[in-house]
């Protein structure tokens, strides 16, 4: 579903944020992308979803290149950034309807999905209010519904659990499992190793822009915890 091949990203001031990264996310995967602050997670994610341009390597979504066919790739992708800055001058429902229009989701299906996920995340009652009146968590919930409105084949999330209340976090995990059961793939970054360990069937650890380890979570961790593995590989790379 997502194939990153020899991807490198260098910023204008010469800093190499990501260096020759290669990984594959298959349909049904919940893929955790782990690394410390500034490791290159967000740069990779933003390049995957077409927010950032890049010059080296290739990123394929559902077999198509994000550089050559961006619109086709984005049609099957959903993205939620670490900070859900969504249009504050719109109400929640108008924002969701805007996203529905862009993805050309039929009205009936759109309404069903907004109702379903709105109720699951307990935000339907507030969808008529302006987004500027929302808390961080409420914006996160609306961003999440907007990502689910077109049933994406690939969902890319940057630190999705930050700002969500405990119940919404559980709901999100259930939604992720449900999506993967339906053949979609999820690629997300996180600092919370416990979440990654319990939720992800595959993980990748990135440090200073370079991939250190990647693969199936169970095989990589073996008998030890992901926390220990993370500390080990980070120390080894020093």
């Amino acid at each position: 579903m997502l194939e990153i091949r020899n991807f490198s990203k260098t910023y204008k001031k010469g800093k190499k944020a990501v260096d020759n990264l290669t990984l594959t996310v298959e349909a049904g995967d919940i893929y955790g992308f782990i690394g410390h602050n500034g490791a290159g997670k967000s740069t990779t994610i933003k390049s995957v979803v077409g927010v950032l341009d890049f010059e080296e390597g290739e990123i394929l979504i559902d077999g198509k290149s994000i550089r050559k066919s961006p619109v086709e790739c984005k049609k099957v992708t959903a993205y939620i950034p670490d900070n859900p800055d969504i249009y504050e001058h719109l109400t929640g429902v108008k924002y969701l309807n805007f996203i529905g229009d862009i993805y050309e989701v039929p009205s009936k299906i759109r309404k069903e999905r907004i109702a379903k996920y709105g109720d699951l995340l307990e935000i339907t009652g507030s969808l008529g209010d302006l987004i500027s009146s929302y808390s961080h968590g409420m914006k996160q919930k609306v961003a999440l519904i907007s990502a689910l409105i077109h049933q994406p084949k690939l969902m890319v999330l940057d630190e999705p659990f930050v700002g969500l209340d405990p119940k919404a976090s559980i709901t999100l995990k259930n939604i992720m499992h449900e999506m993967c059961g339906n053949g979609s793939a999820i690629f997300f970054s996180t600092h919370v190793l416990e979440v990654a360990e319990k939720l992800c069937n595959k993980i990748a650890i990135i440090k200073d822009g370079r991939l250190i380890v990647s693969g199936e979570t169970e095989k990589l961790t073996g008998d030890e915890s992901l926390e220990n593995l993370f500390l080990e590989v980070i120390e080894d790379e020093k």
């Binding site: 927010v51 969504i86 719109l90 929640g92 529905g100 862009i102 993805y103 969808l127 209010d129």
Partner: protein
């Protein structure tokens, strides 16, 4: 307190002018500022020199103060909300160990400094003109300089009080933004209408032939327009120190009272403005669908009407245009000429009307800022399955839907009221439409080339960014130059010129559009 105040002001001004805007964007902005300042300074000097040549140099001090104060008042009303109230880093600033008064003073001083710059650009050349004709003593210089520095205090404070009162009133209502916009535009229009009306002369005045008497009549109009100008005038002309210190005390005292009063209510005003009327009882109804293009266009409309700073500043050109159209339709060109006091305005007005409409339309060029206003939301457009062409088309379409119907309405009002030939009527409609299309595309191009995404207040984009300056001035000069040429051209030459302009602007719009849709944002 002083250090913290200046530190906050410095940070705010740096945020407005530096940011991550591309270097050439900053160069364009500085070049635009410089160009406008040089034009204003040259014009001011010529006005002062002209008054001196007509032996009316005694009018210069009052005129200089009145004109800068009214313009300062007019433009500060439009930006008080957004600079002093409800700005993005308000919560962060208030969490610092700084007095509320210091925060207000820093925000106010940044507005004051910008207004002082404008005041200096007008008053320094006018002062030079006065010196040339009157050869005043050494005492003139400190009076003029201190007066110039105090000049923006009164109008900036008055404008901020008006802005604060609007906010206090509107924050009680659910649709506070809409009310704020309506009231701000309404009050700004009243200031504009009154400043024209008060400075104009009645029919009897026109009969006054003697220049000196005419000067006295005009001086009376200036005093009516801005009463504190009397004090400044006495100080400069008669070295009346009582008037001078009264003027200084009035300006500074008024500012200090304002600071104290706003400090008392600042937090509650901002809280009222930034806390929203949440109902939390929404029931999902039918959802209307539209094409991606219309969705982008509708989003632009919501952005425009949802932000009073954006609506008032970019909509003021259209309001002025409609007011002008209504005034022309109601009063007719002859009466309007006397009212606004622009001699000879009614002669040959039919030739220049299309360009006047086009020029005012160009002041409402939303495309030159709409991309920058995406700011922290830019990721949405970048990550959605929208090709850049649809994004640009949606933004251009909104600008056209905003300007073209208003232009057609004004053209219609004028066509009904003023006798014109079929040719003139045809071009009264065609020229504003073609200009609206061109400026919408040009604005889009400028904003793609000079974006500013890292803003904390919409004012930094709408009022101070390179793209807004370049877009609005390019649009206005694009209409102003043909307007001046039309005054010179006669008969068939004028007609050929109009056809040429329509073809040129239409052609430029087409080729620029073909280029724009290929650009990345």
């Amino acid at each position: 307190m002083k250090n913290k105040c200046f530190l906050l002001m410095k940070v705010q001004l740096l945020g407005q002018f530096r940011g991550k805007e591309k270097k050439r964007g900053t160069v364009v902005m500085m070049a635009a500022y410089l160009f406008v300042d040089v034009m204003i300074a040259a014009y001011s000097f010529l006005v002062a020199a002209g008054l001196g040549a007509m032996e009316l140099s005694y009018m210069i001090p009052g005129f200089a103060l009145a004109i800068t104060s009214v313009i300062t008042l007019f433009f500060t009303v439009l930006k008080a909300n957004g600079v002093l109230f409800a700005y993005r880093d308000y919560e962060l600033l208030l969490s610092f160990p700084i007095k509320t008064g210091t925060v207000i003073a820093s925000r106010f001083l940044s507005m004051y400094l910008m207004n002082l710059l404008f005041t200096a650009v007008v008053m320094l050349p006018m002062g030079a003109g006065y010196v040339i004709w009157e050869h005043p003593g050494i005492g003139f210089y400190p009076i003029w300089l201190l007066g110039m520095m105090a000049a923006p205090l009164l109008p900036t404070t008055a404008a901020t009080v008006i802005g604060a009162l609007i906010i206090l009133f509107t924050s009680r209502f659910r649709h506070a933004n809409v009310l704020t916009t309506v009231l701000t535009i309404g009050i700004t229009s009243v200031i504009m209408v009154l400043s024209f009306g008060l400075s104009g002369m009645d029919e009897g005045d026109i009969l006054v032939q003697e220049l000196n008497q005419l000067g006295q009549v005009m001086l009376g109009a200036i005093h009516r327009l801005y009463p504190p100008s009397v004090l400044f005038e006495r100080a400069v002309i008669s070295f009346d120190m009582f008037s001078f210190f009264t003027f200084l005390l009035l300006s500074i005292g008024w500012y200090l009272i304002f600071l104290k009063l706003v400090s008392l209510k600042y937090k509650s005003m901002n809280t009222a403005l930034m806390s929203w009327h949440a109902r939390s009882d929404y029931k999902l109804g039918t959802l209307k669908t539209s094409s991606p293009l219309m969705a982008v266009c509708r989003k632009e409309a919501k952005r425009f009407f949802g932000c009073p700073m954006y609506t008032t500043n970019m909509g003021i050109g259209l309001v002025m245009m409609v007011l002008f159209g209504v005034a022309l339709a109601v009063m007719g060109p002859e009466k309007l000429e006397k009212w606004v006091n622009i001699p000879g305005m009614s002669e040959g007005i039919t030739k220049v009307l299309p360009f006047m409409i086009a020029m005012l339309q160009c002041m409402s060029c939303t495309t030159c800022v709409s991309l920058s206003l995406e700011g922290r939301n830019l990721w949405i457009l970048k990550s959605l399955p929208l090709d850049k062409k649809t994004v640009y088309q949606g933004k251009i379409l909104f600008n056209l839907l905003l300007t073209v119907p208003a232009g057609i309405l004004v053209s219609l009002l004028i066509a009904v009221r003023i006798p014109m030939s079929a040719w003139e009527v045809l071009f009264l409609f065609i020229i504003p439409v073609v200009y609206a299309v061109f400026i919408s595309v040009l604005g889009m191009y400028i904003n793609i080339k000079f974006p500013k995404y890292d803003w904390t207040s919409e004012a930094a984009v709408v009022k101070q960014s390179a793209s807004s300056m370049a877009g609005i001035f390019a649009g206005m000069f694009n209409a102003l130059i043909p307007l001046i040429l039309m005054l010179v051209l006669q008969g068939m030459f004028a007609k050929i010129f109009e056809v040429f302009l329509v073809v040129l602007e239409g052609g430029l719009a087409y080729f620029l559009y073909r280029h724009v849709i290929k650009l990345d944002f």
